[in-house]
Subunit: 222 residues, 2 copies
């Protein structure tokens, strides 16, 4: 990786601590966003910060969030600074000393001003992008009506001010602990998806869409 | 459940939307916290909100967070309003209409002022509680020195102002879509832990601690 080409976009997304774990390569940021399922979105309010989990989707340069038009937090977020964080826990790291216990993880932090998406075409595109983020099923669903699209608020945040942090591998203990009596090692953590299960009220004869079967396997029993 | 006994502690943790999914029962809040691995912690800064993933642990009435004493975000958080959010994704919910796609999840939001933990006894207790949150291995590790404890900053947040939100089950489609041609169903999502794997530099003859083996199974190969 050419370090020279991947500098942080701003001071506020520059990692100060453990900066050997920092990644400013957009490809790393995108890969972590693609592997995540929910983002944690932070907004400032008069009563302190609020952090809520939200679905999301991305293009090469933008992350989209959506919520009901009645969602007061997302309404408050428009045209204000927000922070979008996506974290994947990859492992538990047990050191010889509890002080050096850690986790293996990949995380992305994106900061910037949330832009309301009002253009109907971008709005529809964004909903498709969010719907297709984990598995592409937009084309296999009933298309939203214009009224439904209008009930769904979308905000966009540029990926410009983003940084990633990645930790992997074994615990790092003090040298004087290495020949001590304590165990050290890791436990991998991953997200496991079950097979698709039809809704109880699904009418007979409708098969699982091919893309859902491809990603999550053959249908299971309820 | 006696609804009368579980009212929200404040207006700012009262769910306004989808409030049939709200839970103010402390037992529900605690169970979600116990099942989570990382919290997403939001803090206000002069440059907008920042949200970072952090390890945590809880007692019956308090959640503890820790970080390096050099962690500028955690330092800034002390004696200010913060928000701690823990989310477990339990499933993907595919509706007949993309508009009704959803996720099954359990989440907890805790708001309040972060209290710096300066008392040495509470500080040590909190580190043990955080260490033992996912699996109890404090007693099987080398005990931290006083210097190590002092390098680790701990903040406490009361669980008083907390709320949970839980969604489970099948998609909820429009009535007129129920006999349409589109599939509907769910895919379960769970966190899977691998077997414990010894660190590459572990000296021979040290077995996996019993509690780690009990929770994560017998040791695997690297």
């Amino acid at each position: 990786m050419d370090e020279q080409t991947h500098q942080p976009a701003s001071d506020r997304v520059t990692l100060r601590r453990r900066n050997q774990r920092a990644e400013y390569d957009p490809a790393v940021v995108r890969a972590i966003l693609d592997a995540g399922v929910v983002a944690h979105v932070g907004v400032q309010t008069d009563e302190g910060p609020i952090v809520l989990p939200m679905a999301y989707g991305r293009t090469d340069d933008t992350i989209y969030l959506h919520g009901s038009a009645a969602n007061s937090m997302l309404r408050a977020a428009r045209r204000t600074e927000i922070c979008v964080t996506v974290t994947l826990v990859d492992g538990l790291v047990f050191a010889r000393s509890a002080f050096h216990n850690s986790m293996n993880y990949r995380s992305v932090v994106i900061r910037g001003e949330a832009r309301p998406v009002d253009d109907l075409e971008e709005h529809g595109d964004a909903l498709r992008i969010i719907t297709d983020h984990v598995v592409a099923n937009w084309d296999d669903s009933r298309t939203p009506t214009t009224a439904e699209i209008r009930q769904t608020m979308v905000v966009a945040l540029p990926l410009t001010e983003s940084s990633a942090k990645v930790r992997s591998g074994d615990p790092v203990d003090e040298l004087h602990d290495l020949d001590g009596p304590h165990w050290a090692g890791t436990v991998t953590v991953r997200r496991a998806f079950g097979p698709p299960v039809a809704a109880a009220n699904l009418v007979a004869g409708i098969g699982v869409p091919a893309e859902i079967a491809r990603v999550f396997g053959e249908p299971g029993s309820p």
